[in-house]
Amino acid sequence: MDLILFLIFAAIALVCAVNVVVQTHPISSAVSLIGVMGSLAILYLLLGAEFIAAAQVIVYAGAVMVLFVFTIMLLNAGRESPRGQSFMVQLLGTPVLLGLLLVLAVLARHMVPPEATVSFGAFRGGTAQAVGKALFTTYLLPFEATSILILIAIIGAVVLARKEVD
């Protein structure tokens, strides 16, 4: 059962991710990205991360991507015009990409013992309670710091996006 779920949603995630990269119109990429995030949320559930899955859907898919869509709307972004590539990107881009893929794949194989498996429900430590507890004890300092970070980001975004007053 877990295997089937994994395969389905992994496939969806991959297809949507490819779509993000391949589509010419930004809005299509944005919608595909929402799809990726959704399927990832399911996969998180599989891995026992209930809280994170919920946060993923609410924050990521629900807020960040909406922000993206609004911006695309605001800018009236159209299809991307086909134009030349930079030389360096052409030359190195593909090898870098393939190299990266290869390295990561190899690492991924070796990082965990081959017999380790994931089954739904095997890890129960991802509840909101557990996350909250860790957040307010061990990770209190990063928590507070990120609060300030968000504050700064808000101020920064407001300042940057303001229309010039003359």
Binding site: S86, M88, V89, L92, V103
Partner: protein, 613 residues
């Protein structure tokens, strides 16, 4: 015994006159300058009087100068009878010349500077003489070289003077190089530069080592004491004021080489080859310089070559094992050579600057004091008994005969030439008709009194100061040999020289020129000092300067070193130019580079952590 007072008082005189002399009156400058030297002389007298027999040197250690590894050099002064003799000569003759200089330099500019330098010279010379190890001696050695340079170039607005100063210093440096090598060898072999320790160990060292050390020390002595082939600076040094020529280039500095080799007698007695080399160099120099002195017209140049020649004599004495005879001649030579120079200075002063003897003549009536005192010096240097030069010169010649008779015969010939050219100078200057255009006037008493004192010393110094007896305990060498026949021959040679000079320059004045006309080629050669300076210039100086310019300057400095330094800068710019192209402004290419770097980093970390095999 407070030996340090002896050099330090003149040093104080130098400091006071050097720093404040510009504002002093002449009398105040005199007070400090002359006073310090006289005080030093007085202290020397007191010290020597209380010296006693002194089987070993009395050493005073003041402070440790250098201590590095096994090298331990202290600032040590020592006194034994040899030092005592030198001290008396330096301070005694030094005082007389200082007094003389009051009159001679009265009308010259830079009065206080002159006396400051002179005092500084006294300090260094006394340090040299009092030194108890080679290092302190070398300090004095270099210091007197410096003062010689300063004083030769005293009239610094004259090109000839500054060139002569440079020449003296540079040629001396060559000698100093030899001296330095000798010191290195001494340290390597004996692990000390202390006289006592070195001479204690020297008899046990190998003959080859001692010979090498001896020869290298001789090179140093050749530089300082103007022997072949490093004598060329001394005649040019006559560009300095005459008291300088008298003090430094007759009585004291040039004798430093003789003193140094005499002090190292232990090394030489165990290295016969080196000692014999010294004798050969000495007699060659003596003969060679005497021939040049025959034809010179500048009165100071005659005496300069005479000094070179007489120094050669001293080295013959050293080289024949008669160390005390060499020192004896040093003492008597100080008397009569200083007198000759001071007298020449008096003549020049009388003629308001004229130095060319062809423009002199008949001066004995006009400046009688100068004439009679110089005459005393002339008979002394000619070796006429019983005056000073006779005793010392014969002691050397007799010792030379024991070593190698040919040296004796050359020495006799040189003695004859010495008498000849000195009396030639006397006759040309004082006899005949006055050929110049000036108004000769006698010098002031302040100049004449030292002349008188030196005249007495030249006449009586020989039998009054029995230097070899005084030094018997120092050198442990054999006693002086008396051989009446040899002495008679050398005296005869001297008298012959006087007679010949009298004939050619007094009784029959035209004879000299006629003779010169018949041997015109030889005469030209001798008159131009065998073109030695020109040969040195062409063979050594010009290639060196040219080579330095072409090789060291243009090639090494400009091309290689500047090239390297500038090249590094240019290369950095090149590399920067290449790397600049990464900064394309294109964000995606930046990202590509980042990606590449990230991949490499991950691979590296994986390899290091053992995850990727």
């Amino acid at each position: 015994m407070q030996l340090w007072l002896i050099p330090l008082v003149p040093l104080a005189g130098f400091a006071i006159n050097g720093l404040f002399g510009r504002r002093f009156s002449k009398s105040l400058v005199n007070l400090f300058a002359i006073g310090s030297v006289l005080l030093s002389f007085a202290w020397v007298l007191k010290t020597v009087y209380g010296l006693g027999d002194l089987p070993t040197a009395h050493v005073e250690h003041y402070f440790t100068w250098i201590r590095s590894g096994s090298l331990d050099i202290g600032c040590d002064f020592a006194i034994d009878r040899l030092t005592a003799v030198m001290l008396l000569v330096v301070t005694g003759i030094g005082s007389l010349i200082h007094i003389y200089a009051i009159g001679y330099m009265a009308h010259e500019g830079g009065y206080y500077r002159f006396f400051a330098y002179l005092n500084l010279f006294m300090f260094f010379m006394l340090t040299l003489v009092l030194a108890a190890n080679y290092a302190v001696l070398f300090v004095g050695w270099e210091g007197v070289g410096l003062c010689s340079y300063l004083l030769i170039g005293f009239y610094f607005d004259k090109r000839s003077a500054t060139n002569a100063g440079n020449k003296a210093f540079i040629v001396n440096r060559i000698g100093d190089f030899g001296f330095s090598l000798a010191m290195f060898l001494i340290f390597v072999n004996f692990h000390s530069l202390d006289f006592a320790r070195v001479f204690g160990q020297a008899p046990g060292a190998s003959v080859g080592t001692l010979t090498t050390i001896g020869l290298l020390l001789m090179v140093g002595a050749c530089g300082k004491s103007a022997q072949l082939p490093l004598y060329v600076w001394l005649p040019d040094a006559m560009a300095g004021p005459t008291p300088v020529s008298a003090l430094i280039h007759a009585a004291t500095m040039v004798t430093a080489g003789v003193y140094m080799t005499a002090r190292s007698w232990v090394i030489y007695t165990h290295a016969p080859v080196a000692m014999h080399t010294i004798a050969i160099v000495g007699i060659a120099t003596a003969f060679f310089a005497a021939t040049i002195g025959l034809a010179q017209n500048d009165i100071k140049k005659v005496f300069a070559y005479s000094t070179v020649s007489q120094l050669g004599y001293m080295f013959v004495g050293i080289g024949s094992g008669a160390f005390s005879a060499g020192i004896y001649h040093l003492v008597t030579h100080a008397f009569f050579k200083a007198l000759l120079f001071l007298g020449a200075g008096s003549v020049i002063h009388a003629l308001s600057g004229e130095q060319d003897m062809s423009k002199m003549g008949g001066l004995r009536k006009k400046i009688p004091w100068t004439f009679w005192t110089m005459a005393c010096a002339a008979v002394a240097i000619a070796g006429v008994p019983p005056f000073a030069g006779y005793y010392s010169k014969d002691a050397i010649l007799v010792a030379a005969y024991q070593q190698a008779p040919w040296i004796y015969w050359l020495g006799v010939a040189t003695a004859g030439m010495t008498a000849f050219y000195v009396f030639r100078a006397m006759f040309l200057t004082f006899f005949g008709e006055y050929r110049g255009g000036g108004h000769p006037h006698e010098s002031p008493p302040v100049m004449l009194v030292p002349l008188g004192v030196l005249a007495l010393l030249s006449l009586g110094g020989g039998f009054a100061f029995r230097v070899p007896d005084f030094l018997r305990g120092v050198f442990h060498a054999g006693g002086s040999v008396e051989d009446p026949t040899l002495m008679l021959i050398s005296v005869a040679a001297g008298l012959l020289g006087i007679a010949l000079a009298a004939l050619m320059y007094w009784l029959k004045p035209g004879m000299a020129d006629a003779f010169a006309g018949r041997v015109s080629g030889l005469y030209k050669l001798v008159y131009n000092k065998y073109f030695v300076d020109e040969i040195y210039d062409a063979a050594v100086v010009r290639p060196l300067v040219g080579g330095s310019r072409a090789l060291l300057w243009k090639l090494m400095d400009t091309a290689v070193i500047d090239g390297m330094v500038n090249g590094v800068g240019a290369w950095a710019r090149e590399v920067g130019g290449v790397l600049e192209r990464i900064q394309s402004g294109n964000i995606r290419s930046y990202a590509t580079w980042v990606g590449l770097g990230a991949v490499m980093l991950i691979v590296a970390m994986g390899l290091a952590g053992g995850l990727i095999r």
